[in-house]
Symmetry: C2
Subunit: 224 residues, 2 copies
């Protein structure tokens, strides 16, 4: 293909495009890890990928706390376990089914990160006067970048949101206004799930693209 | 490198890794578009990339409305213009400076998409009993996937959040509980900004990674 031979500065080659689509397709929310640490340079690349995310008004609202203290990791495990049981109860008739799922890999992952929204967010008006929650959207973009970077590094990542934010904020000495939104488990894996784990476990099956796509008005079928 | 020669099913080659990191580094929030339509197959690839995003409890809360009606596009332009002026006023002493920025490219982009949170979200408890806003995080991951896919396709994308969600919801006949979170402009560009446009325009400069990174406790410097 001609663009393989002479890409201009703007354009990606077909091979580069394929690599990005492959990463998007093969990224998984991982809960099963095998032992082994992550090289500091490799972790740094993942963090830099997160930090290159877009953010509303360039506010860069993400704060990333690396948990290296073992006692702290154990306290976080307990917070998640408490919420796992509370969620199970709230699910009612699916309680037993939910309790069989592996919903986190905090004990076995190589690196544990807590991602939080920063404090003093009221100072940022650009792009969030009517929708202040756009700061969370920016943090999620950063996490998605890290997820894709982890996948191409051959590392698994899992986003755990089974926790009460307030006790976790207290545990990590977050200032007023800051709020944790993700516990990220990072580590080596034996293999990546062939499909989302919740599909493999028959918890829920994803819808097709057509189901989420409309044209001009909600409910109006999109033309191709 | 050996992994160039014999990648197993799990691993990405160095060239593939580089491509993903390049896309992450060169993605920009674009506001300047040049004429030209987007091929249906190309648009489909972007939408599929979005739809492959992770979502809390696999709820896939994103709904994407493609705006092909010209009158509708014009009404959306007016909604955004109204909020642009309201934001400018709210910014106080930076009002005039803000008004000089190009904050959207709705008039000139090839494709206009409105991304919304779905209705009936209360039915989804997994991963959001304590943080219901995790549905927005999932939608943002989908948008970030689309952003990276657009970049490798050589297309620019901009996320506009300058609007009041309620009138936009009304305009697109969103059901109760659904809520728009992004107006996405997609199109061809003459070139991608060499740095975030808000930096080039001296609106704000990004912080270094070190600024957002802590260890074990908020404010505690991260070790490498």
């Amino acid at each position: 293909m001609s663009d393989e031979l002479s890409p201009d500065n703007n354009s990606f080659t077909q091979a580069e495009r394929d690599a990005v689509y492959r990463a998007i397709a093969e990224r998984r929310d991982m809960r099963h890890f095998r032992p082994g640490s992550i090289e500091p340079d490799q972790l740094q690349r993942l963090l830099q990928a997160a930090h290159k995310a877009p953010s509303v008004g360039l506010m860069q609202p993400w704060r990333i706390i690396r948990i290296s203290d073992k006692a702290l990791r154990s306290q976080i495990t307990q917070l998640v376990e408490k919420e796992r049981l509370a969620t199970a109860k709230a699910l009612g008739e699916r309680e037993a089914e939910f309790l069989k799922l592996k919903v986190e890999g905090i004990d076995s992952c190589a690196e544990l990160l807590v991602v939080s929204l920063c404090d003093k967010r009221d100072e940022h008006i650009f792009g969030r006067r009517t929708m202040p929650e756009m700061d969370l959207a920016s943090v999620a973009c950063a996490i998605q970048n890290m997820w894709l970077a982890a996948r191409v590094e051959g590392l698994g990542m899992g986003w755990v949101s089974l926790f009460e934010p307030e006790p976790l904020a207290k545990l990590l000495a977050l200032p007023d206004g800051a709020s944790p939104v993700a516990i990220l488990c990072l580590g080596h894996v034996d293999e990546f799930y062939s499909a989302p784990m919740l599909e493999l476990e028959n918890w829920r099956h994803g819808e097709s693209l057509e189901h989420v796509l409309f044209q001009n008005q909600w409910g109006q079928t999109a033309k191709r």
